[in-house]
């Protein structure tokens, strides 16, 4: 079997269910791969891991990746996209709702500093003055939102509304995707070098992962409970939360072209959205040929 290392974008949660399942069921071995899975975290920059050669493949945020290619000359290729629609959204409370980008005017919104550009893209695409919104740092803790210290936060709409519900509030959210920021997320990224030398392995990975995702999304509530003592052990999160997450993300992942697919139209939309904030992406940054092989 040939060894392949993947770098995930975040700590173990339902966001990566497809891979967990594929690993548990041996789909990667079936494809002749010996997969090493690296969890992520707030200080892990997945792109760095592959540049440094610590992983062969990474799940990334496309805006970061494309910006790195166009501005730093990084030699990346995007070979697939887990989320057809980015689950990132503006999350607020029902009692103080932010329903559209326009509602953000005069509000305080907490954004992870690494994602400020994404929000700036949203504002710019919707013709809102950047200075009309008070952007403060966000560290993935919903407490300030629930306590009303901030009006909204940028977070995964697939995840945080569940927690807010548990805390006795009702969440209101919209996807950035639905307001012009038409980006993928958890894009599958490799270096050009890896692409050239390990093409077959990458195709194998895509195939096995797709199998895992398909099976997982068939019944989103089925698998997370089984991972209580394995993948999710010690994460501090709850299984109910993962089921919620897995269910919520289904529509954002499945696509007519199969999991990971990147249609020409979708790629166009990504490039257009990035253009709005001055990130110059090109079609060459995406390589759809592996998916075709799958």
């Amino acid at each position: 079997a040939s060894a392949l290392t993947m770098q995930a974008a975040w700590i173990n949660d339902a966001e990566f269910s497809g891979y967990f399942l594929a690993m548990d069921k041996g789909y990667y071995s079936d494809e002749g791969l010996e997969l090493t899975y690296l969890s992520g975290g707030p200080d892990v920059i997945p792109e760095s891991t592959i540049i440094a050669g610590r992983a062969d493949l990474a799940l990334t945020t496309p805006d970061t990746t494309i910006r790195a290619i166009s501005e730093q000359g990084a030699k990346f290729k995007i070979i697939g996209a887990q989320y057809q629609k980015n689950p990132i959204g503006i999350v607020s409370l029902k009692k103080n709702p932010v329903n559209t980008p326009a509602d953000l005017v005069g509000k305080t919104v907490a954004v992870p500093p690494v994602n400020t550009v994404t929000v700036e893209a949203l504002l710019s695409l919707n013709g809102i003055d950047r200075n009309a919104v008070n952007i403060v740092p966000y560290a993935y803790d919903p407490t300030p939102l629930v306590r009303g210290e901030i009006d909204a936060s940028l977070d995964f709409t697939t995840n945080v509304p569940y927690t807010i519900g548990l805390l006795g509030e009702e969440a209101q959210s919209f996807l950035l995707y639905d307001h012009g920021v038409t980006l993928f997320n958890d894009t599958v990224v490799v270096t050009e070098e890896t692409l050239a030398s390990r093409r077959a392995d990458l195709v194998a990975w895509l195939r096995a992962s797709r199998r895992g995702w398909d099976e997982n999304l068939a019944d989103p509530s089925l698998y997370p409970p089984q991972w209580e003592d394995s993948w999710f052990k010690g994460t501090g999160r709850s299984i109910d939360n993962e089921v919620f997450f897995n269910t919520a993300q289904k529509d954002l992942i499945v696509s007519g072209g199969g999991i990971f697919s990147m249609s020409e139209e979708a790629i166009e939309k990504n490039l257009a959205a990035l253009q709005a904030v001055g990130i110059n992406g090109t079609r060459e940054m995406f390589d759809t040929t592996l998916l075709e092989e799958v």
Binding site: I11, S39, S48
Partner: protein, 525 residues
């Protein structure tokens, strides 16, 4: 046995009980920040419910922090001894030493994770967290030796290393121990912070990350308290040993001898210039060597030349410079205030430690919590209480800076020989008068050492606050740049912040030398 009974009856115990009760009530009735501060019982209940999660995380963190603690401190004490024996070495490596202390963990953790594997990044970060404090404490301790005793050794032909072995090392034991006390929480925090970037599955840091999104303060406090417990145990061990050795380490009478003014200084001008040049270039050389040796690709790892290029020569350099200057303009003023605030707070505490020993014993556990509780977890609460303005920045800066200064100051005050304390007491001096006239001046070398520990950290504290709470200045710039994979800016901010810290440090050093020389006191580089 008698000790334990004494403790139960003591004011400390009573104060602690009161403190816990107040905390419980405040937490229960949701007084602070609308209930964001949980009561102690809520935390304990949560802790009990989560008990299954903890062993694996605690074990991972303990492993990393213990290893880092041991390695970092061994290196620190060894380096301290070398530096005292060969002051030139200290001068040469000073920039590097300060850099190690002042480097923002958010900047180095990802680099460490990329260059090292397994537990190594965590151990390294823990070791980096302890190195400078212990080294500094070792150096002050070794330099505050009794020259009369050294004369005895020299009169028998004993050389410097013999004086070191027989006089200085033993005399510095309480100081080194106070260094270890400060190091304990630093090691734990270092390990936890490395877990943020390590992508591992186990460790309190990882657990904290997973728990952040739950909006459950009781869980976060539970993790913080467990981390504090780990650090606190180690703190306690060294505090007890320190108390045991202190009495017999104090001179019976105060040494009045004036130290040689130019002990170990390079005499010739060319040599002095060479040392200065070496000291200035060494950190950059090590930086360059680190990158070349680890072979990290150019895109991620910028060499000093790379940073120069980024900042001055490349096409986009004017944008980078503008961003950097704007950030500096936001960060620097508050840093100056933060330094003073941190130092002032430490000083105030050290004085209270002498005047109200009971109060300070009660305060110690709280102080330890502030040192081991990761600020990511604490900031939401702080923001709820203080908002996102200057006060939260100051608060965070104080909490990041005061502890080493405080412990070192207390140590300096405790070292004053009984015979000189007798004098003010024989004239009925109040504790405050005695402190003012004898203990504080006698502890001046420690006060300066404490200041030198505070100053580089102040900038770091401000940057953490900017990154977590205010979203301004260098801290925010650093974090944002990570989202752009803008490693040029990341290295630039790290380098600039270190250079600033070194500059502050040298400024203090200059004042220190002048003052101590005037007062005929022993100073170390």
């Amino acid at each position: 046995m008698a000790n334990r009974a004494g403790f139960l009856r003591s004011g400390t115990f009573r104060n602690l009980a009161i403190l816990i009760l107040v905390w419980e009530v405040v937490g229960r009735v949701d007084w602070i920040a609308g209930g964001a501060l949980p009561g102690l019982s809520e935390i304990l209940i949560r802790l009990w419910a989560d008990r299954g999660d903890y062993p694996g995380h605690v074990w991972a963190t303990v492993q990393a922090s213990v290893l880092g603690f041991v390695i970092g401190n061994l290196v620190a004490v060894g380096a301290g001894i070398l530096f005292v024996l060969f002051p030139t070495l200290l001068r040469l490596t000073r920039g590097f030493n300060i850099a190690v202390f002042a480097l923002p963990p958010i900047a180095i953790a990802p680099i460490l994770v990329l260059t090292l594997s397994g537990m190594a990044p965590r151990i390294t970060l823990a070791a980096l967290g302890v190195y400078f404090v212990t080294m500094s404490a070792t150096v002050v301790g070794l330099s505050q030796f009794d020259t009369r005793a050294a004369d005895v050794v020299r009169a028998y032909g004993g050389k410097d290393w013999m004086v070191m072995k027989l006089v200085r090392l033993r005399g510095a034991v309480p100081d080194i121990l106070s260094g270890l006390r400060i190091a304990a929480p630093n090691a734990v925090l270092g390990a936890i912070l490395a877990e943020f970037g390590g992508g591992g599955r186990w460790g309190l840091g990882t657990y904290l990350l997973g728990s952040l999104g739950r909006g459950d303060p009781a869980r976060l406090w539970g993790i913080g308290l467990v981390a504090t417990l780990i650090a606190g145990l180690s703190y306690l061990v060294f505090a007890v040993i320190s108390a045991r050795t202190l009495g017999s380490s104090r001179s019976v009478t105060l040494n009045t001898a004036i130290p040689d003014a130019d002990d170990g200084a390079e005499r010739s001008l060319p040599l002095r210039l060479a040392v200065i040049a070496g000291a200035a270039l060494l950190p950059f050389f090590l930086w360059w060597a680190f990158i070349k040796l680890t072979g990290v690709p150019d895109l991620i790892a910028k060499t000093p030349l790379g940073v120069l290029d980024y900042l001055f020569l490349s096409d986009t350099s004017h944008i980078a410079r503008a961003k950097l200057l704007a950030a500096l303009a936001e960060t620097l003023p508050i840093t100056a205030i933060g330094m003073l605030a941190g130092l002032g707070f430490a000083f105030l505490l050290a004085i209270s430690a002498r005047m109200f020993p009971g109060f300070i014993k009660t305060f110690m556990p709280i102080a330890l919590v502030t040192q081991t509780m990761p600020l990511v977890a604490l900031t939401p609460l702080l923001v709820l209480i203080l908002g996102r303005g200057t006060s939260v920045t100051l608060w965070i800066t104080i909490s990041v800076t005061f502890f080493p200064a405080f412990v070192l100051l207390v140590q300096g005050i405790q070292r004053v020989p009984q015979s000189v304390l007798d004098l003010p007491r024989a004239y009925g001096a109040s504790a405050w008068t005695e402190l003012r006239m004898v203990s504080i001046p006698a502890a001046l070398p420690y006060l300066f050492a404490a200041t030198r520990l505070t100053v580089p950290r102040a900038l770091l504290g401000v940057m953490i606050a900017e990154w977590l709470a205010t979203g301004t200045g260098l801290g925010n710039l650093l974090n944002q740049s990570r989202g752009y994979l803008d490693y040029g800016m990341i290295w630039t901010v790290a380098a600039v912040s270190v250079c600033l810290s070194v500059a502050f440090y040298y400024a203090i050093l200059l004042i220190e030398r002048r003052t101590l020389t005037r007062l005929g006191m022993q100073w170390v580089e």
